[in-house]
Each structure stands twice: as structure tokens, then as C-alpha cells.
Amino acid sequence: MFGFYLVGLVAVAAAVGVVAVRQPVHSAILLIINILALAVLYLMLSAEFLAVAQVIVYAGAIMVLFLFVITLLTAGKEEQEAPEILSGQRWWAGGLSVAIGIVLILVLGQAGTRPEAAPAPGLGTLQDLGQALWGNGFLYLLAVGMMLLTASLGVLVLNRAVRANRTAEEVRASAPSEEEARKAVKGGGTP
């Protein structure tokens, strides 16, 4: 019970830090702490496979991608927030978020407090989860697979568009000089 309080406190404190800190790199490091604390919570709630998947997918893949982009875009720059265009944006945002929290807590209060029984011995193992995913939830699994394929295709298209524009501009910029060079070669060959 004490463990739940401790790990939950670490997770919430790291989440507040992600939002409050100025530099994106510090934000990313705090997000990694948040993700690891959540993985420990998953482990306590008998979701062993998901705890491992959380560490591998989030801390291993997603955060590395984030750190790559952060180092690519913000290396050696002073981080400063741009001035706000919409006035009072922060106050609206804070009020609405507190409202979200209150509504969710009210919903949580209706959840009931039945005594907790011991889970079936296999709950949360890879075999159990695999039977659920390939059995009843197979349609969802197919949909997520198609979505991942679409996302990877979308990333390819986005990157190719930028590069295609740049090469087109380069070709347009360099085309006259090539023609001039060809004329010069022809002019040099005819006298």
C-alpha cells in the first residue's frame, strides 16, 4: 500500500515537472522518470508484460526519438517562450484543466469500493494477453496494425515532400548555368 503512494507520488511529481520546466531536454528526462514510475505501477497491478512493453516502447524507442529531435532542433539555443497572441490563454487553459480533473474525480468517486479478490494466476502474462489480442480483440489488433502502417507511410511522405521541393529549387537554380555552360562549350567548339 505504501508502495502505491510512493510510486504514484513520484509519477505525479515527474508529470508536473515535465509541464513546468523550461528546457525541453529536462522535460524529456522527467518524462522518462514518469514512464518508469508508471511501469512499476503496472507491475504492482499484475500487468507484467505491459510493464516490460512500456519500458521497451516508451523509454527505449519513443524517448530516444524525442531526444534525437530535441538535439536536432534546439541544440545551442536559448529557450524562450514566444509572446502570446491570444490574451488570457493561460487562465482559460488552467480553469478548463482543473474542470477536467474535477469531473474525472467525480466519476472516480462513483466507481464503488468492493473488496479486491486475488487475480487469476495468469493475469497479465504474455500468454493471457496474447489470447485476448488474437481472440476477441483481433479486429482491434488489425486496426492498430493498419494504423501503424499508415503512420510509417505518412512519415515517409512528409520527409519526401520536403526533400523533393528542395531538389526542385536546386534544379531550377542551377539550370541556367548548365545551359550557359553548354552554350559556352558549343561556342568554344564552332569557330
Binding site: V18, A47, Q54, F66, A93, I105
Partner: protein, 104 residues
Amino acid sequence: MTVTTWAVAVAVAVAVAIFAVGAIGVLTRRNPLIMFMAAEMMWNAAALAFIAYARHYHAVSGQAMAFLIIATAAAEVGIGLAIIVSVYHRRHRLNIDEVSRLRG
């Protein structure tokens, strides 16, 4: 380990708190990278709520949903970071208002 009902309630409360903090981050920060990280925390909070209720009702389908949430978040990060990088290549500023005039 032995888990009481109160422990599951604490886990759901942590999920609620992280979701609200993530929403505050998405709405107030103006750096698109930090906004994305806050959105990631909101995905994680939803997954944590699914897992806590899966433990409460002894239903593995909640854990299956959490697995699908992790996969969806991975796809979202890939496409979102690609959009951020390509906008940055054109405007050279990390400000979310640069994207407000985005057009296909």
C-alpha cells in the same frame, strides 16, 4: 502481491492527476515538443486507468486495450515529430502558432 481496493483507487487517482497535468501542459505550453510530451503523458494516464480497472474486474481485455494504446501512442509520436521537424525546416521557429496556418 496483495492489492486492496484502496490501492486500485490510488492508481486511478494517479491516472486522473497525470491526465489533468498533461492537459494543462498541452493547453499552456507553446513549445510543440513539450506539448507532445504532455500529450504522451495523457495517453499514459489512459493506459494506467485501463490497467487499474483490469486489475479490479479481473478482465484481461483492459490490458489488451492498454497494449493498443501504447501502439497508438508510438504511431502518433512518429507522425507528430515528422510534422514538427518539417514545419521547423520551413519556419525555423519552435512555436506552436507557426502551425496555425497549416494548409495541405
